[in-house]
Amino acid sequence: MLTLTCPCCGVTAEETEFAPGGEAHLKRFGPGSSDDDFEGYLFARKNPKGVHFERWRHAYGCGKWFLAARDTNTLEVFATYKAQTSEPPADVIAKIKAKRPDWEGYK
């Protein structure tokens, strides 16, 4: 049972207050995109055993979507941050690097 802190309203709450939403920083491919790109967008999810970036919604709170950097193997939450970004912020990257020196970085 995770605890997460919503970066929008600042509340730290139980996992049951949130709804998970899958991989973060997806780039949408629409009409005109190649079959490969479109398939990748919909299905080729990152599924690392380790550092992972994902979407959550504070569904039973402020209602906002936000993003979390989490270790899928230890469940450590490195950071949560606002969803309005196309890649993890530098300070989040730095924080993860400090804790996981072997991490290959966001790609």
Partner: protein
Amino acid sequence: MKRYSIFAVAREALRYHSGWERAWRSPEPKKRYKVIVVGAGGHGLATAYYLGKVHGITDVAVIEKGWLGGGNTGRNTTIIRSNYLQDPSAAIYEKARALYEDLSQDLNYNVMFSPRGLLMLGQTEHEVRGYKRTVHANRLQGIDTEWIGPQQVKDLVPIINIEGPRYPVLGALLQKRGGTARHDAVAWGYARACSAMGMDIIQKCEVTGVRTEGGKVQGISTSKGEIDCEQLAIVVAGHSSVMAEMAGFRLPIESVALQAWVSEPIKPCMDVVVMANTVHGYMSQSDKGEMVIGGGTDGFNNYTQRGSWHHVEETTRALVETFPIISRLKMLRQWGGIVDMTGDRSPILSKTPVEGIFVNCGWGTGGFKAIPGSGFAMAELIARGHSPLTDEFGLDRFKEGRFIDESVAAGVAH
């Protein structure tokens, strides 16, 4: 391989069972095999078994990071059924169910397949329509299922409450030849039979890399050294993405935790398997007397084999609502496993972008029931390059939008 029988047990009893031989050998890996199967769970071992039994390929190694049968094969709730809606699913699950019927005799290892009957409760009008649709589909697929009314449900399961105030039981989809089996025994029986055919089952051997050359597989690197092969089957539910990454491709899979738990054992009181998908829980009683309970998965990626507690509460509530007498039973043990979830919640049995590498993954929450069929089909795919049972389960379906979606039958796949 010395045959198991009641006479063999009697003979051994007279000498304190000192004469039993190893169920499977524990060899060091050879330099090269024709086929390497990574993953000594039920699916991996069954793949190896049918490669040998049906296709005469016995130059096979099954590589296992931990102990054989230690993944989801040994963690599931042992339900076996084939009442699937879509033709490709129905075909492979029914193949599996049919093989389960004779598996104990085939393997000379009692896997305790118990076709005690399986009910999927209809608790909303929508769900009823979905299951009736399944009955009609099953009829044309050659699968014996029927729709029964609430009183028949009560007759089959006296401890059920069909008059729940929120979701009264409106009837059920019954598969009489569905049931359960002893999960560990399935892995052990296949392992013993594979070993007897001369295959090497190598436990405590971690794969650290996949070697390819010119788009073709060459072998694997392991904690016990380099091993070459002509063909490589990746059958590692829960870690499929990690292995695929080693081989250089990505799978449409996410790993999530699924939990199960059992009550303390009580005398037999429920002789069928009951799945209640509207309220979301399922329960059967093991031969030992424990009520075996499962529910839904967590919604986030997880490799810890631990799920979130609130699912335990939700599912327990669903089952106490369905079977009020269990309120005074006690939860004995809860555990979790990591399951592969694909984009359409159906499995992948497929060739891959790397020549010679095959994947068998994505069984989600329902892989145990498929083990014999999955192994049979996978062996055919590896040996012949094609199997009618796997044709629709290829990786290409996601690009084409050709999904095999079982959730449409109002149910969830367990």
